[in-house]
């Protein structure tokens, strides 16, 4: 206890002795801290002296006149992002989005040129390109950009049919919104540069979605019907072509056979005729007898009658029956 009191007194004594030096150091420190400032890598430092802009400094350790000069740091290198019609709930490897709620729905729903409605969600990426304008020309430049972006997107979508907006028009809409938005920000002296306008989901309004899906289904159905007909065609026609070839080949075969047979038979007949002409009577007889010789053994009933026996034939017929 006693030691501490002595220490305290000693400190008091020291302070009394050196207070001038201490005050000087403290004042110097305050001036020193006031004179130096750091500008981050993604920032630009805008310096005003008595409220008037005097210079803009790049990243690093910089000096200013204490109390007289003021510093505004603007993140010029940082990409900023505004979302319309949806909000990123939690960014990450698997980002979660929120798409419901009257605020986002009102942002997204818009009239198309043919007076239909479409639900358009988009993102505007931008960065501060002119820190002076960004700070001193427009109050609340980010919110101004939001309003502008909504107006511009609706203007572009308002010149298109709902089918264009939902199908072929996407890229064109994004490009035109970007170009028009860039022009407008220049006119407003917003001091920002539009990096990209990305259209996200573009959908028909919730209550007509089903009807739009029915169109897609009908389109699929149409393709299916056509494909089925085509496949039936492809199944039948090549087979028919093959069968036609078969029919023709068969006819060719018949023709060859027919001609060959005729030629063969004619040759045989000619040979026979050449011999026959030399001894017609006997040849004819020989052939006759030979034929009967061949035929008769195979026959069932053989009845031989005299030349007067013609009258028995009716009887025989009855018996045979």
């Amino acid at each position: 206890m006693g030691d501490q009191k002595i220490d305290f007194n000693q400190i008091l004594h020291l302070i009394r002795k050196y207070y001038k030096a201490v005050v000087t150091v403290v004042v110097l420190l305050i001036i020193g801290f006031g004179a130096f400032f750091q500008v981050g890598t993604e920032e630009a430092g805008v310096v005003t002296r008595f409220g008037k802009h005097v210079r803009t400094v790049s990243p690093g350790l910089k000096m200013k006149i204490p109390f007289v000069e003021r510093i505004y740091k603007v993140p010029v290198e940082r990409q900023k992002k505004q979302e319309f019609g949806f909000r990123t709930e939690q960014a990450g490897v698997r980002t979660e989005y929120s798409r419901t709620g009257s605020v986002t729905e009102d942002e997204a729903i818009m009239l198309t040129g043919d007076l239909n409605l479409a639900n358009v969600q988009w993102v505007v990426q931008y960065r501060v390109s002119d820190p002076y304008n960004y700070l001193f020309k427009v109050r609340d430049p980010d919110n101004t950009l939001r309003d502008l972006s909504e107006a511009v997107t609706r203007q572009i979508v308002g010149d298109r049919t709902v089918n264009e907006v939902l199908t072929v028009g996407r890229a064109e809409i994004a490009n035109e919104v970007k170009a028009l938005l860039q022009d407008m920000t220049r006119e407003y002296s917003l001091g920002v540069q539009i990096a990209q306008v990305v259209l996200q989901d573009i959908n028909p309004p919730e209550s007509v979605k089903q009807a739009f899906n029915a169109v897609n289904e009908a389109q699929q159905e149409r393709e299916t019907l056509i494909n089925e007909a085509k496949s039936e065609y492809n199944k039948v026609i090549p087979r028919a072509r093959g069968q036609a070839q078969e029919t023709i080949q068969q006819a060719e075969g018949y023709a060859t056979q027919r001609v060959n047979n005729a030629q063969g038979e004619a040759a045989r007949f000619n040979a026979l005729y050449n011999e026959y002409i030399k001894a017609p009577e006997v040849t004819k007889k020989r052939i006759y007898l030979e034929t009967l010789q061949e035929v008769l053994p195979k026959l069932g009933n053989k009845i031989i009658t005299s030349e007067n026996g013609n009258n028995v034939i009716p009887l025989l017929k009855k018996e045979l029956n």
Partner: protein, 316 residues
């Protein structure tokens, strides 16, 4: 000792008085501000629009700060009927700035006063302009031709109606008219735009119904187109099938006919050489017919008159 202390007090008092006078006579104008100097409430001289360190007469004069930047005006969504009596919500916004701080100070006093005057002026002009134009004029901006390359667009013959004025010119007219009214208020509107235009609830339902029926029409068209196309392909198949089959039949028959003719010619040439050959042919053919047609179920009655059995009766 006393003398020294009173001296110190005097110095301190003087310093304090000096600081007070100094703070009263200097003021700092920011980049974002402009100032009107008033003397007992009466404006003195021109407005100070340049930023920096400025001086004024202490105690008598007062510095009134005003915004120099563009400010926002955001309208309340208004329910307005268009020319064809369609009720729509129009949500608009404007950017404005103080062009004449002195006049602004005199007429509107402060920003809140300005916002409320802008509400009156712009809302009124918006209502007038929207009510005297059709909805299409408000929504559309140009007479751009619709891109109808999408399949659905081709099917329903998509097109955009022609407009005469358009969104941009209506916006400009509202802005110009409003600026005429704000001229003596010391403010100017830089830009006026429709932010959102939407149908009121029951009109929206009707639009949804129309969109639905239009889609159903497209779906039906797709389906019937599919059926039509399938029938066409089927018909083509049938036609091609008959063509292929009949052509093959025709060719086959022609080939066969030619062969028959050729065979007939060959036979005739051989058999029809002379009366003898004709006789021989009919004889041989008859013989062949016997061989081919007689079997065990055949009964023949041969007369002894026949060539074969004539010797059975006699040797003659």
């Amino acid at each position: 000792m006393m003398n020294k202390r009173s001296k110190l007090t005097l110095i301190t008092a003087l310093v304090i008085a000096g600081i007070v006078v100094l703070t009263q006579s200097i003021y700092i104008v920011d980049e974002t501000q402009q100032v009107v100097i008033t003397q007992f409430g009466r404006p003195i001289g021109d407005a100070v629009t340049e930023p920096g360190l400025k001086f004024k007469t202490p105690f008598v004069q007062e510095a009134n700060f005003f915004e120099k930047r563009y400010m926002e005006w955001d309208g309340d969504p208004n329910q307005i009927p268009t020319k064809e009596k369609k009720f729509i919500f129009v949500d608009s916004y404007a950017r404005w700035h103080i062009t004449d701080p002195l006049q602004f100070y005199k007429r509107l006093t402060d920003e809140r006063g300005a916002q409320s005057r802008l509400d009156d002026i712009i809302d009124g002009e918006t209502r007038d302009q929207v009510a005297s134009h059709s909805l299409e004029e408000v929504v559309r901006n140009t007479n751009r031709q619709a891109d109808t390359t999408a399949k659905i667009s081709i099917m329903i013959e998509d097109s955009l109606a022609q407009i005469e004025v358009g969104r941009k010119r209506i916006q400009n007219m509202i802005q110009e008219k409003a600026n005429e009214e704000t001229k003596d208020l010391g403010i100017e509107i830089l830009d006026f735009r429709f932010k959102r235009i939407n149908y009121v609830e029951d009109v929206r339902q009707r639009v949804y119904d129309r969109m639905k029926s239009e889609r159903i029409r497209i779906a039906d068209k797709f389906r019937s187109e599919g059926e039509g196309e399938a029938s066409r392909i089927n018909g083509e198949k049938e036609r091609e099938l008959s063509q292929i089959q009949s052509a093959a039949y025709k060719e086959a028959e022609t080939i066969k006919g030619k062969a028959d003719a050729e065979a007939t010619r060959i036979y005739a040439e051989a058999y029809n050489k002379s009366s003898r050959s004709v006789e021989l042919y009919s004889f041989v053919k008859s013989m062949e017919t016997f061989v081919n047609t007689f079997d065990t179920s055949t009964t023949v009655i041969l007369s002894t008159d026949s060539d074969l059995y004539k010797y059975l009766k006699s040797m003659e």
